[in-house]
Symmetry: C2
Subunit: 136 residues, 2 copies
């Protein structure tokens, strides 16, 4: 993997757009954020494992009926391949902190989600953090 700060900023922007869509309850944005050519999957805490675009989008339609006030923190890009990357981050929902995996694929120039999982993490922060980082 060649270090490409522009690429990684675009991935972090897509990641933040995902959480902005959740906060806004914006199903149009959410739908556009998910890959349409590649297969997708999603694991919400306490839900069955969802595989396939129809089930994944339907789950977000349910969740966004009462948009959770989620904020993402400490997002880090783990650049696996040229057109694909993981982002790991924390999700803050009230007093709850979750850890999330978001997998992005570049489809026709846009970074789009192919997978999301959120689950419990330790509450403690490992270090003070100011800005998103790229891991290389």
């Amino acid at each position: 993997m060649v270090f490409d700060p522009t690429r990684d900023r675009l991935i972090l922007f897509a990641n933040e757009s995902f959480y902005a869509a959740i906060r806004a309850g914006d199903m149009t944005a959410m739908d556009e954020l998910w890959a349409s050519d590649a297969p997708v999957a999603c694991i919400h805490p306490g839900w069955p494992i969802l595989v396939g675009r129809d089930d994944v989008i339907a789950s977000w339609r349910t969740i966004l009926q009462s948009p959770p006030g989620v904020q993402q923190r400490d997002a880090r890009v783990v650049p696996i391949e040229e057109g694909m990357a993981l982002v790991v981050c924390r999700e803050l929902i009230g007093d709850t902190i979750l850890a999330a995996t978001n997998v992005f694929l570049r489809e026709r120039g846009d970074w789009r989600l192919v997978h999301h999982q959120a689950g419990p993490t330790s509450a403690r922060r490992r270090r003070p953090r100011a800005a998103p980082r790229v891991v290389h």
Copy 2:
């Protein structure tokens, strides 16, 4: 993505090898299962987010000191790119059922982990299942 049953069987085999290594407390196998060229990350339930091979391998060294009797069920391949795939599956640990994301990358011919996250899922099964499936 071209449908390639041989490829997908190899990915499911790597996925089962990962859980076999956990059950056996086999750190040599676990170390070999993780990518060594690509960056890696891991999210264990209740742990901080781990990024980087040293932290990930150290976490498994801690966990495998008392190997959990984990079984994987209902593994499904979500084939994202030619040399990279997600597997989603359930993890059965005693009476606990977790949902897991395992991200595999082909490195020098072998399918190796670049990411693992496990977290709570619903206990109910969506449908009876007999064998691992490939999603296309």
